[in-house]
């Protein structure tokens, strides 16, 4: 595959690679950041990356099932964000900080 073709012809692999890059960024965020809310945001980033690949497959295979999955993922993401933020608020009320290291005080 010549170099020019890579750039001027957009195919499924371009979207999939974009999705992979976004997923890796999100994963790096989860591993590297210590703020609970930023962790949640990185998870949202990963879910979005998955959504991109679902929509890509849906488009390139001509079926709508992939888009249905995106709906489900979005709902789960919203639910996860709601619970995560509620947890963050209760952590913040307790310790005035949302750093992940305070979670070890939560046992018992």
């Amino acid at each position: 595959m010549p170099e020019t073709n890579m750039i001027t012809t957009i195919g499924a692999e371009h979207y999939l690679v974009l999705s992979a890059i976004l997923f890796s960024i999100g994963m790096a965020g989860v591993l590297l950041r210590r703020n609970l809310i930023v962790l949640l945001m990185s998870i949202e980033l990963m879910l979005n990356a998955v959504n991109i690949s679902f929509v890509t497959f849906s488009y390139y295979s001509g079926k709508v099932e992939g888009q249905i999955m995106v709906f489900f993922v979005m709902t789960i993401a919203a639910a996860e964000a709601a619970v995560g933020l509620a947890l963050a608020v209760s952590i913040f009320k307790r310790f005035k900080e949302v750093n992940i290291r305070f979670f070890e005080h939560l046992k018992g």
Partner: protein
């Protein structure tokens, strides 16, 4: 270079840059705003893939509701000093970055090799997509959602109810708005 190609590269650039900014910004509020930017550009990517309704839903649900919630919570916290934005320890950090790099390399490699081994160049796939034709996606989407996947849809409704009750129970302080603890 046609408009579609330009659009893809432009959107991909914005998505990756704002996604990186989410992880790299030390201030969580900037991270949240960058994530909102990512959501909007992902919605635009959905438009290039002809998933118009999903793009609208993405903007309403993610950018309009979920991220506003994040930003509101962050602004309520109003963190004056961020202790330890990033993980401790050079060695573990390097290890983590390396593992992320390996993972992304694996995925990208798998995608490209998979496409070459299958021998389907992207042109064929595009023509296949044109033949299959996802025309009038909104109608097709609603039929697939409400006829074929109705159980999943109802299960999601139950899930949302559970989540709503759980969230209220979690965030409720004793005595409502006039808590005394």
């Amino acid at each position: 270079m046609t408009a579609d190609v330009f659009l893809f590269w432009f959107l991909a650039l914005i998505t990756v840059i704002s996604g990186l900014a989410v992880v790299l910004m030390a201030n969580p509020i900037y991270s949240a705003l960058c994530l909102a930017m990512t959501m909007i550009s992902v919605a635009a990517i959905f438009v290039t893939l002809q998933a118009y309704f999903l793009a609208g839903v993405q903007i309403i649900v993610y950018a309009g509701a979920v991220m506003v919630l994040f930003v509101m919570v962050l602004m309520l916290f109003d963190l004056k000093h961020e202790l330890q934005a990033f993980t401790r320890g050079r060695a573990t950090g390097a290890l983590k970055i390396a593992s992320v790099g390996i993972l992304s390399g694996l995925i990208v490699g798998a995608v490209t090799i998979g496409l070459t081994i299958a021998g389907r160049s992207s042109d064929e796939v595009i023509s296949a997509a044109a033949a299959g034709g996802v025309v009038d996606t909104t109608r097709g989407l609603s039929e697939a959602l409400f006829l074929k996947n109705i159980f999943g849809f109802e299960a999601l409704g139950v899930l949302l109810l559970v989540i709503a009750v759980g969230t209220v129970a979690l965030s409720r302080s004793k005595g409502g708005t006039h808590a005394r603890d």
